[in-house]
Symmetry: C2
Subunit: 372 residues, 2 copies
């Protein structure tokens, strides 16, 4: 087993989430805390029940302030380096739950600047992708009255003013330590953590009152907010809170996360056709089944390493259904191909609705976009 | 004599301008080139005749393109760390000559972001100073139809888009080599050369056609544009040209330049009263005269180290008048106090008109300001 590498730009190897909590210095999302969220939300969520969200920072404070009627907001985002895939929408599904539950503003940052600076893409390309990605976010059903989407370069007048206040408090050596920058890194990337951090404080500026943010995001994004949390008291802003999820695993197997950079052949995009989804899952989804039918019927499959099963833990909300799939797979009753067929049906049912909403979102996108 | 130190933030010691040309790799402003400017301008300028402007980069190309009717523009600026003093307006006087002469657009960048990032000032302070400084610039008499003033943070949406294109091409080690940044420098300063460089390319974006810029500025600002010139071909922009002037010397003596950071007691601000000007010059202007009246009458003064005389080379346009002052001072006919009185009268006459125009400018500033 290779040692996992987890940075905001790369996830390699089998991720040991327990070790990440220790390394990153975050806290376990404990049962009492899950209960608190569910109480505030007045309903449960499968991503909490299944520990897909597993770690946090200052979530207690955030929930307490919400309870006390203080100003709080959600913040998540997207780096527009390509089309949206199913891995990206995992935190968004949870954001939708939280926004509905807590009835609070949500800020969605699309970082066309970062993806331009760190990828072999033009700014025109990342900016165009930004607005395409925004459609996927809107398609999740967010309330336009309290959901504020912005694309960094098109909201730079507001963002730059906040970002330089952050930047003044962050030395090059901090940025190097947190992000692994070196002398060959371009000066745009050096500055960029300040733009990312600025979003933690944007709600305070935008709501015109101190507003604590909660960031639901995959754990690899945590380093950005360590900087934001460090500078918050120096700038007089509330420290941002965070709630971290695991990665949607790669279809190809239990190492790394689903990522377009590993090749789009095994990535399921929100714009894929039913046939593409079927082909990708059938061809690439790493199987936890046995080599022969006979063996499988006898010994059963291993859901822990089976990509199709792992994906169902993210997308099949019904605990009973999931348990029955698991039991049948482990017992050998359910074959790997049949398990894949269940996932294909689930994904295609989701995408059918999503793609309709996504096209509808083109007409309504202006209601969501913050511009200078 | 201490070895001079010349960086964009500090000028110390007696500056050897010949050595700077060699060190910075710029070119002498030769007589044939001065003739070319004067021919294009259809008139002479005392700052050219007296080699106050003494160095350049690619000025021939700039003048040739102007002659051929290609799009060219001027670019200068101001770092708003305090009130405007007479040292700041030296390049502006020359800009006014060039704009009138060549009939071309002029871009004026006010860097409230930089001064916030590198000084102990709030962004609110540098932003306020920016608009105060702009009044001094407008008071020089620029044409609002072709003069575009912008304050970085209020034009950041436009500037950031250009700046990140520059930033992607500049590594941290380049920025360290050119600006002397180290690991303790804040990440805003690391990025900032990209904002400065961006102005070289702004005219191309704003005029919607390739536009070569010419930067009249004191030579200590040259490093910024070395980066801009390096990246220009990579981004498909014309390389910016520059014309460099010497520093208005400190009143306190022949070392360094006039600078507010050395204490405002010996700095003449554009908002000073006639009495303040009189007191500062009488009290602080370093004298090249002899210690006793007798000695002075016998041996005469030394204009080369006399601050009042040196200042007159910047502000007294009439060559004959200046020569007669010089001759009389050298011969001992003119006393140090009398020389100071000439400068006081000259400066106060200038400021009387300037301050009126400066107040008028408050009403017209909007005609000049570029905003996103």
């Amino acid at each position: 087993m290779s040692k996992a590498k987890v940075t905001p730009w790369e996830v390699k190897g089998v991720v040991d989430y327990e070790r990440l909590i220790e390394e990153f210095g975050t806290n376990h999302l404990t049962e009492p805390l899950i209960k608190k969220i569910e109480k505030a939300a007045k309903k449960s969520h499968h991503m909490l029940r299944r520990k897909i969200f597993f770690s946090h920072r200052d979530l207690e404070i955030f929930l307490k302030e919400h309870e006390e009627g203080k100003s709080v907001a959600l913040y998540t985002g997207r780096g527009p380096s390509g089309n949206t895939h199913l891995g990206h929408i995992v935190p968004w599904i949870f954001c939708k739950y939280l926004q509905d539950a807590l009835d609070i503003p949500l800020y969605f940052q699309i970082t066309d600047d970062e993806k331009f600076l760190c990828k072999d893409l033009t700014l025109e390309e990342t900016n165009k992708l930004a607005y395409e990605n925004a459609l996927d976010f809107i398609a999740m059903g967010f309330d336009p009255k309290k959901t504020f989407i912005f694309v960094d370069t098109d909201y730079a007048k507001t963002m730059y003013k906040i970002a330089i206040k952050v930047a003044k408090k962050v030395t090059a050596s901090s940025a190097q330590a947190v992000f692994g920058f070196d002398n060959s890194t371009n000066i745009g990337m050096y500055f960029w953590p300040a733009m990312q951090s600025a979003t933690c404080f944007l709600p305070t500026v935008h709501q015109k009152k101190p507003t604590r943010t909660l960031i639901p995001a995959a754990i690899d994004q945590d380093p950005y907010w360590r900087i934001a949390r460090d500078v918050a008291p120096k700038l007089g802003y509330p420290k941002t809170a965070a709630i971290h999820c695991t990665f949607l695993p790669s279809l190809l197997g239990p190492e790394g996360k689903m990522s377009t950079s590993e090749g789009s052949h095994a990535t399921i995009f929100t714009t894929d056709t039913p046939d593409e989804v079927k082909k990708k899952i059938n061809k690439y989804a790493f199987s936890g089944g046995k080599d022969t039918l006979e063996e499988h019927r006898k010994h059963g499959g291993n859901p822990a390493i089976d990509a199709a099963y792992q994906w169902l833990t993210f997308f099949e909300e019904d605990d009973k259904k999931l348990k029955s799939i698991r039991d049948n797979y482990k017992s050998g009753k359910l074959l790997s191909g049949e398990l894949k067929a269940i996932l294909i049906e689930k994904v295609n049912a989701f995408l059918k609705v999503h793609q309709k909403k996504r096209e509808l979102a083109r007409k309504h996108i202006d209601k969501f976009i913050l511009k200078d």
